[in-house]
Symmetry: C2
């Protein structure tokens, strides 16, 4: 049996221990849960700010998700203890906290649910987690089947620790009416104003059961006793202690006793989540806590997920890659676009790039994002660091640090949106910023944003970086006001070029933007070309960095990628750059963002250089940067290199690679550990974070790059860039409400691509006059 089985409908993991942090994630617009195969869970819901309902045992800092976050015995989790009442042997499903090595363990992550099948001690346990489509709660179903020929006397104890809910007020008790444990707390605060902010928060947590338990415990410390979570004293007696948690960390522990006849099965259903009051819990109970309630929720969630179906279905020999492209990647793209990463103030660049993914999944979302973002454009034309999603939302964390790249992403998003939808009408939509009172149409706003970029330059015509560009922690290159960014200047050039094209295609004059784009390219070529690659920028003190003279941070990936996109690099430069990247940044796990990683603070570069070598921006295989490079390689026709690096975004399929990365192939993480040449013992490890700008660009690279199925004003352009080793590929592409059945075959005798539509050869590679609802049979012969 392989360690991991993976197809479009399910990712199976056959070990609880081989990939200790392996996890799946489910979400709906109200919540997200990151569930490890072992049974630990990180979940949050929106009210409207993100909040937790199961917490750590201590006061946890509010923070964004942490990369490579480890687990520990008391990590929040969903634990189901099973005791054999004949011999008092205990194991727990899924695996934590007893950690018994069971006879058979299978973790199943599907696009719609997470489940386990476990065989142990003559029992078959099936455990399933579902979310409803639009409520913050978890639906747990557990089936226990007696696979033996004898009666089995069992106790089952679901035990969900709630942690330190609040230092002001926390408690837990069994509610016989609701048939479950209700914990309560007061979100801690000190200022009067916060009372009014907090008073409508969902401060209660419930675990409701369909069956009435024979006993319960709500006191975490009593449940554990001296035995600890892995061998709780609470399980040693006949019955849990029926205790009430009075200003103690609560746990939701229930006990059910079964005498299970040979071959028979019992099913439990539980509901777990946050609520405001008793009434809300009662409503949740009546809606969900029944066989039909669970069934309805499952159907509803399947419908919700189906709305995020992507626009392509491929058929590659590489079945893992096909599964990922057809199912898991659009799911990840949909997650980003539909939830904004469960943030209420997404960084503007994330907001816009995640929407670029929505273009291929839910174009109406992309359109709404564009309008929302523009409605917060400043009078100067600048875009703010974050987009606040509700009245009263605040710019937090990194959004309080000024970055200069946010205007760049508008034209990039728009290009993909217009190519896919041909909705040029959006350019004439008026957008009012209620804060400034300014109303401009989309076209004028994006022109203004690009004009802002044109002006935000130094005497060399290079873009000022202030406290960061796309690279957040590169915060001290230009904090004194003089430092510039080569990457940003190239990104501006790219944006300007795209914008000028869009304007032309819309019948407007874009020549000034095109000219400005060239000027940026010229400035970068003049000041930043280092002989074999582009430098990353010039500091406040006029020091060029990211160049050969540097021992650390010698080469940065992003300027190379965007020099391809912007047209700055000629063919000679291009081959030198690709060679340099290959020699200095490529690894078995993808292409690194910086090399060598910094090992100590460089005060004229900034916080980036203080991150651990090979982690995140400091030289990891930062997939967002890697996919920029891959996308740019497709733009300049480097199909083989592009695909080679693209394939490395996915863990597996070989076991060694899965073990190394530690992650299932069902999502692309924001990074794999880099610094491969400096710390090879750690390279390849996944961050396990599924929030990443990578997803949208990866989907776009596959659709428009690898498969070459890109829209244009006339219709669908078909110019695949299969790797040279592939003899062909098939795909079904949904485009402008028509279906394109594409069959690509390699014919080395050809000079150029030949496309036939419904058996009729085309003069070029564009299918024109597309009719919604039609099916087009496309055959493509590639050289």
């Amino acid at each position: 049996m392989s360690l991991v089985d993976f197809d479009a409908s399910v990712c199976r993991l056959h070990s609880a221990t081989a990939l200790p942090l392996a996890a799946g994630y489910l979400w709906n617009p109200r919540m997200m849960i990151h569930m490890t195969a072992r049974g630990f869970a990180t979940a949050q819901f929106m009210q409207p700010e993100p909040a937790k309902y199961a917490r750590a045992q201590i006061l946890e800092a509010k923070h964004f998700m942490l990369p490579e976050q480890g687990t520990y015995a008391h990590h929040p989790g969903r634990f189901f203890y099973i005791k054999n009442r004949d011999n008092n042997a205990v194991f727990s499903a899924p695996y934590e906290p007893v950690r018994k090595s069971v006879e058979k363990f299978e973790f199943r992550f599907t696009p719609r649910d997470i489940s386990w099948e476990i065989y142990e001690d003559g029992l078959c346990i099936t455990l399933t987690l579902n979310l409803p489509a639009d409520a913050p709660c978890e639906l747990w179903e557990m089936r226990i089947r007696n696979t033996t020929g004898q009666i089995r006397r069992l106790s089952l104890y679901p035990a969900f620790p709630l942690g330190l809910m609040s230092w002001m007020n926390q408690s837990g008790r069994f509610d016989a009416d609701l048939n479950g444990i209700i914990a309560d707390c007061v979100t801690p605060y000190q200022k009067v104003a916060d009372y009014f902010k907090n008073k409508d928060l969902k401060d209660k947590v419930f675990l409701l059961s369909e069956e009435t338990p024979v006993a319960y415990e709500t006191r975490q410390a009593r449940f554990e006793g001296e035995g600890g979570l892995h061998a709780p004293d609470g399980l040693s007696g006949d019955r849990l202690g029926n205790g009430e948690a009075l200003y103690e960390n609560p746990i939701c522990a229930l006990q059910f006793d079964h005498d299970l006849a040979a071959g028979s099965e019992v099913t439990h259903r539980f509901l777990f989540g946050p609520a405001f009051d008793h009434d809300e819990i009662a409503r949740m109970k009546s809606t969900f806590l029944s066989p039909s309630g669970f069934e309805k929720a499952r159907t509803g969630y399947a419908e919700y997920i189906a709305k995020g179906r992507g626009k392509i279905n491929v058929d590659f020999k590489d079945s893992h890659l096909s599964a990922f492209v057809n199912s898991w990647l659009p799911r990840q793209v949909y997650y980003h676009g539909d939830t904004n990463r469960l943030s209420t103030d997404p960084q503007t660049r994330n907001f816009l790039q995640d929407a670029m993914g929505s273009v291929y999944v839910r174009p109406q979302t992309a359109r709404a994002v564009l309008l929302k973002a523009l409605s917060q454009q400043e009078l100067s034309g600048a875009m703010p660091d974050g987009i606040t999603l509700y009245d009263g939302a605040e710019l937090k964390y990194i959004n309080q640090v000024p970055h200069t790249d946010h205007c760049v992403w508008l034209a990039l998003l728009l290009e993909s949106y217009l190519d896919e939808t041909d909705d040029y009408a959006v350019l004439d939509v008026a957008v009012l910023n209620t804060a400034t009172g300014e109303s401009l149409n989309v076209r004028d706003r994006i022109s203004k944003a690009n004009q802002w970029l044109i002006k935000a330059v130094d005497h060399r015509g290079l873009n000022l970086i202030e406290q960061g560009d796309w690279n957040d922690p590169m915060n001290m290159v230009g904090w004194k006001g003089r430092g510039v960014s080569a990457w940003l200047s190239l990104a501006t050039a790219h944006s300007l070029r795209l914008w000028s094209r869009i304007l032309s295609q819309d019948g407007h004059d874009g020549s000034a933007f095109a000219a400005a784009s060239s000027a940026f390219n010229t400035s970068v070529n003049t000041h930043l070309w280092d002989g074999d690659w582009y430098g990353r920028g010039i500091t406040d003190d006029d020091v060029v960095f990211g160049v050969k003279a540097d021992v650390e941070g010698r080469i940065y990936l992003n300027p190379q990628s965007f020099a391809f996109l912007s047209g700055a690099a000629d063919d000679d430069k291009k081959s030198r750059m690709i060679k340099a990247v290959s020699e200095q940044l490529e690894t078995p796990y993808g292409v690194e963002m910086i090399g060598p990683a910094y090992t100590h603070m460089r005060e004229d570069v900034g916080r980036l250089t203080q991150k651990f070598p090979g982690v995140a921006e400091n030289g990891s295989v930062y997939n967002h940067a890697a996919i920029f490079y891959i996308y740019s390689l497709y733009q300049v026709g480097e199909a083989d290199k592009a695909f080679e690096l693209l394939r490395k975004m996915l863990s597996g399929p070989v076991e060694e690679d899965l073990l190394r990365r530690g992650q299932l192939p069902a999502f692309v993480p924001n990074y794999y550990r880099g610094a491969h040449r400096q710390l090879p013992q750690a390279s390849g490890r996944s961050s396990h974070l599924f929030n990443t700008g990578t997803a949208s660009w990866l989907y776009r690279s596959i659709i428009e790059g690898l498969m070459g199925l890109k829209g244009c004003r006339e219709g669908l352009r078909i110019e695949p860039q299969l790797p040279s080793g592939w003899s062909g590929a098939k795909a079904v592409r949904l485009f402008r409400d028509a279906e394109f059945r594409v069959d690509i075959r390699r014919d080395p005798s050809l000079e150029r691509i030949q496309v036939a539509c419904n058996g009729k050869p085309l003069n070029d590679t564009v299918v024109r006059g597309i009719t919604a609802g039609n099916i087009y049979e496309i055959s493509v012969d590639v050289p």
Copy 2:
């Protein structure tokens, strides 16, 4: 054997499990460690803001200490695993994380160190923790003696988890030069300005060993494996894995192998703490890590602690109380005065009241505190909410909420200071506030503060409360600007009366303050007397609360206490009040602060009412409030009631009480759980917080109340108030550099107290003309 043995030199606990949170604390001016008997530790050091060097396994919120903070498997701790290499059996000292029930367990908390003696598996383990007098590091000594007649083959593994040091950068490695593990991190931040704040922080943590280990492990997850902290996989092999933690939560685990001959002993010494760089670690090593270094540190620390010796030594029949008064209470008072609770912005009221304790321990500290606090007085005469202790310190947490009581504490501190020292010269010291530029002498500043109180009143002449008085979370009584506080008005009356007396004794006219004091008393009697006790205040909407009409929060303790102090209450009122308090607030664990505790939010009282019933300000036996009451009872001659409640501040001596409170009698905690009439199953539990304004008032109540040995301008006034059941008591009182050997005997035939000094009867109760260095034999006969 009793569960707890307690005397002035040591507190012994003979169980690792009976009092799961029982702990001792050590500190020096640079750090504090709260060490549980089981081996968990909460420690912080100042740089200058409080920081941790051993952390939780997740990102922990920065916060003040939490009451009743539970522990959990991965709570930071200092663990020493011992493996029998003949049978691979493992236990750990002190107790966590293996939790083996050992043959003999003794935890010893002395004023100078914390140690354990453990017998198990034929071994005697002696483990001792010392701090140096002025460096932030822990000195651990471990002796292992083979008590059997055979050779014993052992492995010893000290294992100190460091937790999640930083999401930016964390690592750990063995340093052969330093002979120990050095972990490193970058304190996480996002804003450029914080880089400059952080760059000199001690971001390294070291565990150095005197002996060279045979192996080590720095990766927490690898050390644990699937076994968990209680049975780490790392111990299952011959050798730890010698791993380097690369952006992983680090642990400092070392391995030593011993073949211990029958009856022989081996000693290890370890140094654990934070540091800035390698050089600093090397300096620490050369200073401390040797037999002589440890010895020197112990001597130095003993000298440091000796500086905090108190001013009285009593000899009661109640040996626990004597031990507490003679040793542990002045130690706790000293801790407060010398460290300001390891805060850099102590609340002004805490700063001043803690200094009131210093009066009896280190009067020069009290004087410095007075001058420091006054140097931050505002131009209006108001005192700020907190006193910043260094340039750049900021008012944080609760100090950002406006409270109106801070001026009250100046005269109270000064009274005790002058009575003890007769240092009236301090009143003429000029104090410059560099922020306002105002320079005034102490006398004028305190007059100005009292004048501010006189003016901060409503139309009834009652003090406005704004967002709180002494009672921090009573934040919505007056947040709209109209609500008033009966307690504060009485405290003002008390302050004014004291201040007028001090002025008179200093030859100035205090009559205006005396008159104002009477006016406050009159206003309170007019508007807040509720028939049997005083109400607590009047809300913004003119609702009197803390009165019979209330179902919850019917009676508050503080107004009663301060009505005694201020002279507002006549004899009739007094007896009604004492009866009401007795009936509604007294419990087996002391007197509650509010009764009944609130069970739901009262929006015109505030956050207090949202705290859990019986916890902290919401109706616990909040010892700070309880000691106000006790002190006030001594002021009005209620000796029996005062002592009855005072004795309840201390846990024990009976085992049932110790188990109930869960705390050793070596310090007074900030509260014991109250709401005794509502939730009796939880009442009595200690908060385990040793930071409390109780300590200073308790010491003062014992010296000046119970023992009646209070200074005055003329000398020492001797008016003991022994409880009626006592036939006598002895004490040695140090006062103005003279020694008073006081022998109190009960003589029921007497009408009034008779005092003899060196055998000569006095006309009154005052010993005059005290000569420094002299010894006075005082005999006291009390009716």
